[in-house]
Amino acid sequence: MNSLRRQWPLYVLMILPMTFFIIFKYIPMAGVMVAFKDYNMFQGIWASEWVGLDVFREVFSMPQFYRALRNTLMLNFFSLLTFPIPIILAILLNELRIHWYKRVSQTLLYLPHFISWVIVGGMAIRLLATHTGSVNQFIKNLGGNPIPFLENEFLWILTYTGAGVWHYAGWGTILYLAALTTINKELYEAADVDGASRLRKIWHVTLPGIKPTIIVLFILQIGRMAEISFEQPYALRNELVMDVAQVISTYVYTVGIQSAQFSIATAVGLFQSVVGLILLLTAEFLSRKINNQGIF
């Protein structure tokens, strides 16, 4: 009670974010009802008829749904393989001693994060199209054979993952750089006294110092394995690679928004959330087992 009286401005400040979360995150959750109804968009959610699990039965009988689920997990798995890249970048940046050089490289690394995926998609076609893209023109001029970056399914996955690294990696270093500043300088000095080399210091001081951050971010990423952004696959895909590029988010868009089958789209989305929750809890559980620390 005493603390409430003393710190009331802080509590008042909390009201706005709380209102935001309640209005935009919790109230819309009631909308998942649509997944259990024969939703009529003009009658609204309440007036539509309950149909139990019929919608889910229909979803699980659609071959396209399994394809989207598989692709989502697969693309996310490839993205997960790139998880160490921001860590390496952050450590490299941290080791830079020339101040202005560090600043400039940091800014350059952040920039791609601010470029919309729609533009990245356009750039990908200009650069990587098999016959007209600049990269392939260059290869052809050197006498090589054009590489179908966007048309071959496996190469497309690599292009997708690579574009993801280009887009996210620089931005992803921010959290690690922040964690790096919390490492006690005296540890480095002690290591210097012991005659440790740079690599040794990175291995024995820096990495253990940011280990908790790494674990938290890793768990969060595992929890996101079942969900996938809409823009990245949608902007990069084309008709030839749909077998690997149709993911849950784009499938929900096709089914829900374009075909107005809102019940099916909601059921798919709900299923995705449940899988995500299970993955998140599993990762958390494993992390507690192995490292004695998790996030919750």
Binding site: L13, L16, N40, M41, F42, I125, T130, I257, Q258, S259
Partner: protein, 533 residues
Amino acid sequence: MRKPFRTLTLAFLAIVLMMVMVLAGCSGSNQGSSTGTEPKQQGGGDDSSKGERITLTVELFDRNNTPAGEPPITDNFMTQYIQENFGDPNNIEVKFVTVPRAEEVDKLNVLMASNSAPDIIFTYNKPTVENYVKNGGLTDLGPLIEEHGPNLKKVLEPALPYGVFEGKQYAIPALRVLQAQTTTFIRKDWLDKLNLPLPETTEQFVEALRAFKEHDPGNTGGKVIPYSHINLFHMMPLVNSFWEWDKIDDKALYAVPRWLQPGSKEGFRLLNSMYHEGLIDPDFAMADDFSQQFAQQVVTGIAGAGTTNTNEPVYNGYYANLRANNPDAVLEAIDPFTTPDGKRPKPMYEPIGAYIMVPAFSENAEIAVKYLDWMARPENILVLQNGIEGVSYTMSEEGYPVLLDTPEAHTLLYNYYDYCIILNGKFVSPDDPYKNIAANAFDLEFKDFTINSIEAGNNDGYVIPRVDIPVEAEIKYAKMLEDFEKEMFAKIVTAPPQQFDQVYDQLVDEYMAMGGQAVMEEKMQAYDEFYNQ
């Protein structure tokens, strides 16, 4: 120490207060616009409703083709004409709501589901209309047209039956003046350079493409794309020329997917071999729907031939741009895709364009019909389709408008077809087909090209039989199947030749499994029901 803290607190509180006020302001103005037709409270008394201006909202396609420096499509000569001649006299504010052309169905579904669609909406997509009908989302316009739409009834007479669903006039289909769908054209100046005739058969056409590739008559430095604008919709004349028409009756034409029609596979096989020979645009699968990519290829003089919407090079202006770049360039409409018995079958449109609708939740259905009726009056059609006499057109002696080839005309009319939504194509009079065709050959410089294009696009054309019973499976799967067809097309055309049959059969199986079968069976039933009543 205490004082700064207190100032900070006050500053925070001020910010909080401000945000709350902003939020309140937002919701207030939202309310204002959504119930804009209701009289405001402050006036008080009965007379406030009389003086209140009603806002009529109208959907407008944004094709992203506004020339640089021109006014926005929501506030230009056309919208001002509408406001001054329909809006102001009736105390109505006509407001246009833009929807991106390539996402019309998505955007419309969202607007409809959130009850925020404009009073007048339209779509080219029939399953979408049927879905709205099925869910009770549309206003029955029949009685309103009877009462307020005499001009509309007269102009749209051939089209109106297509807007009847479950016995009610839920949609007003735009009248399609010309039913031709696609026409192929070729660079005649390239043919002349190579001493080749205008192709009259499929073989001659392919020969000409080979010659384009080999001799590069346009001096493109190897960038030549002999045949471009490759997509399923525009490849139908080629594919249709391989169909075994004696085995296809009306019911099959209506119900059987194109992939399963006898002979279809051979048509796609030809495209496949053209792809591997380098005769068609190798990156065709990268182009989005409605992209300007092909227009660019024509304008920059690297495309040798293409199949487009009939007369598109003229009405989209890229033929004119090509001529500006290269005065020697000549496009010629051709009709090369021939069946063994010399026919040139190709799909044609029903006599309708977009379905115009009024959502059930709209309070302005009557005004909407009055607006459309106003639009159907000849004097308004003339202005909305042709602009200002003396500036963008002149009247010919025979009484049809002829466009002037001036920069003013181009900037006035580059998207004219999006305002006069009740008509698809230039229209002069319901009683005079010749005037209608002549009016569509509006650009004098390209008059012959246009007339030839229309003739070629009509030649041996077929219209899919009409069945007005909504097909449930189609409502549900149409969009997914349509997307999958694009995927099939890309994969089939680019498949390695030795695996062509395998890829084709496997994709067709997938297509049938994901809803194609259900749609076909229901369509067969609907056909029998409709024609045996």
